[in-house]
Symmetry: C2
Subunit: 483 residues, 2 copies
Amino acid sequence: MARESADVRKITPKSQDFAEWYVEVVRRADLADYTEIKGCMVIKPYGYGLWENLRDALDRRIKATGHRNAYFPLFVPESLLQKEADHVEGFAPEVAWVTHGGSEPLEERLAIRPTSEAVICSIYAKWVQSYRDLPVLINQWANVVRWEKRTRLFLRTSEFLWQEGHTCHRTHDEARGEVMKMLEVYREFLETELAIPAIPGRKTASERFPGAEDTFTVEALMGNGWALQAGTSHDLGQHFAKVFGIKFLDEDQAEKFVWQTSWGVSTRLVGGVVMTHGDDQGLILPPRIAPVQAILVPIFNDKNRDEVLPKARAIQRDLAAVARVEIDDRDGFKPGWKYNDWEMRGVPLRIEVGPRDLEAGQAVLARRDTGAKETVSLGAVKSELPGRLEALQRALLDRARAFRDENTRPAKTLAEAGEILENQRGFVATGWDGSPETEARIKEETKATIRCIPLDGGDPEPGMTDVVSGKPAQHRVLLARAF
Amino acid sequence: MARESADVRKITPKSQDFAEWYVEVVRRADLADYTEIKGCMVIKPYGYGLWENLRDALDRRIKATGHRNAYFPLFVPESLLQKEADHVEGFAPEVAWVTHGGSEPLEERLAIRPTSEAVICSIYAKWVQSYRDLPVLINQWANVVRWEKRTRLFLRTSEFLWQEGHTCHRTHDEARGEVMKMLEVYREFLETELAIPAIPGRKTASERFPGAEDTFTVEALMGNGWALQAGTSHDLGQHFAKVFGIKFLDEDQAEKFVWQTSWGVSTRLVGGVVMTHGDDQGLILPPRIAPVQAILVPIFNDKNRDEVLPKARAIQRDLAAVARVEIDDRDGFKPGWKYNDWEMRGVPLRIEVGPRDLEAGQAVLARRDTGAKETVSLGAVKSELPGRLEALQRALLDRARAFRDENTRPAKTLAEAGEILENQRGFVATGWDGSPETEARIKEETKATIRCIPLDGGDPEPGMTDVVSGKPAQHRVLLARAF
């Protein structure tokens, strides 16, 4: 395919208008765009290539933990969706309804899946008969639809792509183990592959998945100091098993309901990558998931074109054996323009090769994150490339972690919390007595929510009090405004 | 996940009732099942694993030919679907319509994509401006919905999974080259990976994709002598470009419409694999796409369990380095029962290891296709496994090719063709004068259709006449009844 040219005019600075900066980066780097179809985006090849890398990296982990993929129907008959009361209450307002097949009205309306618990549980009820059928460890990669009035590319669209794991277990303990295992899979995946240091924690009752007994989350801090819920893992208890009749004959000959979990991440993670690492020049992509890890830009003019290009192409072919290296050999564009173009797209490393470099047997390596340039002998580029990409990956994670730590601040009073959330943003760590009243008050006064009770650091510090009531704190919680 | 047990009771013989045999194999081998959701199936983990292998093998070829994946919206607004007259006429009768978002009626009905030409062309109209933007070489993996009254697992379901390539070119020649290139990609992929020897050919006007200028197909012969259209590649001409306004400024400064193609294969290929290779014991899977290439069955009893199992597991771990080898170490099932179970699932090779085998340093290898058993020294199994799998893959292709050739018969008259199609089935090669009248007559009298004018062997033989009119034949065509 002809390579699209990124629009390399200056973009709105991040610090000036983060929302505008975000949309400009996503569109100009060719990740995605709006369509005339209400609430739906198109994921362009470059953005989809990023999603493929991210998806494959997670899929490997899902399989390595014993799960297998399957595919369930897109449609949820209205009667199935209504079975679990909290579930339908949570999702019905944002469901797209199919009412006609061809020219005929349907006997029963079909929801397009906003999530697949109802469909999958109705099927599991047939599959599970005996304790020998357990555990059921299945994942699905699919599109889902949640009708949205206000759209933001990747972060909030009517249709999005995701994976949803749905498991059944013999005991609550085993199910709880699965919930925590997948939360840790998400945390490690975000850290290792996306260079996003997310905080695992428990959601409050009001923030639970509709129908769940308990919801766990990995919360990440974006570049504007808002939080992003990057993935969730739900303990469904026996809520769905009871209404859908998922029962098994246990070894003791007693009929029992299964214990279930579900867990998912979506294409919103692509938005998370943009908002965690990007800068005023555009995207910065972690090397492990970057569709192009290094771009070779040959420097040539009409006179030395035929001398430089074949050599540059040979270098690119050689490097392609150790990393995803492409060459930008387009005519009619100046090197500087190309540099900007690839910076906008967030390619981690740039390799510049001009006629004098070739003569001296060297190349110039430029890092996307720091802008640092270094001259390296051509013989060493290939052997050093993987290590340099790994170092850059680590640097991105370190920077994101430092940013998060700098932007996690304690507050003792609601006024103090509100002041931080308004002016400095980030996470605010504070005490909570566990009451819904405090939670509601926080939301009202600060527009922030309790993002989670961190798994590590969720116990109250000695003497810690609730940020609203002043009563002794039951938990140390993290507040933030969120996407 | 706990391994499901295939239902290994005898199935309906293929020769007795092919349709019943097919459904029993698909369900008992755990490939897929019906659901209570009208027209929709669930693809079970084993069937989805097969689809993943098949999908990945094709995806590599799609990328190697310069295409990139992207993702476009699920919804097609009614006004977009209606733009191309033939297209809407072909698809409207089988469209699922979304009329409500949450509790509100939509201003315009949305079709769930039955195919994505309309959506993608409306987006390409914005992306393509200059000859520099061409070619556009994009593919999408997605679900599509075509409302079906009668359902057959994998072959005909309301929702199915597929890939659809959509490309734009500067000239008709270039577009035509793309159409033929992708047809050849399909042919080679079917042959190499699925061991299905498909015949590439051109469709008649009446069998074209709605809105296409020309449609090409790869036609395969199934075990009951019916044809399966395994993939199609369409020359869309400028039909869609003109109604959607996909124009570019050419180098000569003239504004021109692009030339387009689209091409696709779907989950029906899984059905094609079942119907090409399966037998009365169940599935037979080509090794290259089999989720499990070899199953190791340790033979043990309560006494020697602890002696046999650790050694068998060590062998399996060792073999897993060269092929997808799993072990069936379930308690409570006799070896013979396990053999049947894995035969039903079509696993190409079985490796039996009992206490005496271990003592003698050997294993018994059994082929799924021929049932042949052979004793091989344990030291040789690992080095020989890849070669044996390749040989089995070739044998399946050879057998399918021989079956197809034996079941391709010439006919000079309609009566003769009808007799063959009724009693022997298979392909009938005959002459066609190119008239719609002959085509209609064939359908009426024999329930068969002209499957294609083969690319290789589509010219009339000397003296060949039309099977109905007796006029000189313009083409040599293949007739068959089809799924």
